[in-house]
Symmetry: C2
Subunit: 200 residues, 2 copies
């Protein structure tokens, strides 16, 4: 069915968000229409004002409050000798949620994908080189996703940093914790077997 113009417009915007289809977007828009007018106004303004409120950290490229450094770069307890390169914020969030990494980050802002016309010119490569060559960083962890483009990007970054005296590493390939071996693909099993560790 056709909704009023303002509602259709809203549905189209919701559909552009990840994981939201026409049906989900309709459901969200109709629910939003039941909110108090003041809540609708505040929600809308919190989106409309993102350009003023959110910027990128000058040290790592992560999103942060406009004009400030991000929380992680400002945190003196984080290990400055470790620099983890991630593609974007969701990937940074995934590493943070594991609660095990205590170093710093560099957010590339994308990856190299010649087929999509992404040649790397939009990435934070200068910032990466600056951080990696600052003398403080001992190890750069290239935490790109282990798929075709992620590997290509990691290889490109390794080349870019090859003249610096920093150790370059990448996360181990292997079976996901808690997974059933019977669902693992061949490449994962091969990597897990070739990187097998001794049982203690």
């Amino acid at each position: 069915m056709r909704y009023p113009k303002a509602a259709e417009e809203l549905i189209e915007y919701f559909r552009q968000l990840p994981g939201i289809g026409r049906r989900g977007a309709e459901r969200m828009a109709l629910a939003l229409l039941e909110w108090e007018p003041e809540q609708q106004r505040l929600f809308g303004l919190s989106i409309a004002r993102l350009p003023e409120n959110i910027g990128h950290c000058p040290d790592c490229g992560a999103i942060c409050t406009q004009g400030q450094k991000c929380e992680i770069c400002s945190d003196a307890r984080r290990d400055e000798s470790l620099l983890c390169v991630v593609e974007n914020m969701p990937q940074l969030a995934a590493v943070e949620k594991a609660l095990s990494y205590r170093g710093k980050y560099l957010v590339l802002g994308g990856r190299i994908s010649p087929l999509d016309g992404e040649d790397g010119s939009a990435l934070n490569l200068e910032l990466l080189r600056k951080r990696a060559s600052s003398g403080k960083v001992k190890e750069v962890i290239l935490a790109l996703s282990p798929d075709v483009e992620g590997r290509a990007t990691a290889a490109y970054l390794a080349e870019l940093l090859s003249d610096l005296s920093v150790k370059l590493t990448r996360p181990a390939l292997g079976l996901p914790a808690g997974a059933n071996l019977s669902f693992a693909d061949g490449a994962t099993v091969t990597a897990a077997f070739s990187g097998r560790t001794e049982v203690e």
Copy 2:
């Protein structure tokens, strides 16, 4: 992890939408942060301006462009002798999507639920009585959901309209089309068997 204040605020708003958990809200907010500033502004304003842009149809209570009648009430091809009472817009949308009903609607705006303090005072009961007693309506279809509160509401509406010379009906109970009989609950099977129709 903690996101910048403006992003956390946005995540909290997204979480209030139906079917969106913390993880989905984060994903949506982070994706939205990648949009062009102009798109963020337009999306935000399309929400912030809902109170000005969207109102309720004076004839049926459905959402519509502020100050107008809704499309269905304005459509002369729809059968005025049939009035379908639905709880809210998602339920109206479900009936419309079936493409088989060509009458008009009345959107109650909720249902009676004494446990949640909904005594019916917020419902469009006056509008319903006005429409049902206009002389144009021959049949009122009480299309409330066949659950406890929906039945209670339908019973209440039937009582409210009992003095009018309109036919009161409700949708048939039975097996959902395409469903597997083995998954049907007892009440549905009982209704489907007692309402069985002859094979022609």
